[in-house]
Symmetry: C2
Subunit: 135 residues, 2 copies
Amino acid sequence: MAKKGTAEERDLVHKLWNRGFAAMRAPASGGATKNPLPDVVAGNGKIYLAIEVKTTTKDKIYIDFEQIDALVEFSKKFGATPYIGIKFKYTKWYFIAPENAEKTKNGNIKIEKNFILENGLEIDEIVGKDKQMKF
Amino acid sequence: MAKKGTAEERDLVHKLWNRGFAAMRAPASGGATKNPLPDVVAGNGKIYLAIEVKTTTKDKIYIDFEQIDALVEFSKKFGATPYIGIKFKYTKWYFIAPENAEKTKNGNIKIEKNFILENGLEIDEIVGKDKQMKF
């Protein structure tokens, strides 16, 4: 199952700063409010990103559709491009737009390692340094 | 002195959501990284805001220039308009652009209640609902 990895979030935030973005993690708890929040928000004055971070030691990962709906809702309102950011063990970071991810019968998201290795975007692609689009 | 008010940050975030923005507080601790972070980041697809939140029960408030430099640096990189958001006891929220705030001899920022009541922007002005500019 998905594990919310603070260390991985920090690593991603660090990589975004290194690529000229200002990036911020969400607070540990949403607190009293129930506003939908992504794990990381970043911007560089031209590109704004909202990222839901998932890490796993397994070969696939499931994400509840509520979480993805929240990511998309936040992104639309904020003015950011939503991505699911995935870190499988021993792989680089990969990113996928919610609409390009595989859905289960229940409407949840299922991301398989082999699928993301082939179809995922790398960090330099989502920050605009490499315009190669896989979709 | 300035008191970092989480309750006030939540209140501000709530008010921004009510005005069509997606808003997020910074994590409680910057953690291992020393990246400059504002207290609140918000966007509505057109306007992006980075806000340093200050609250006090006194009649004036001082802010170290390092904090303001960090706010401005984050904002420039992210692509947001920087504001100091101030909540004096028994007043509404007021906002001021860092460059419009009074500076002390040491380069720190000093904001007096009377000054902000006259010159501060209200929340509906910084979210673009009311274009009246005081400067």
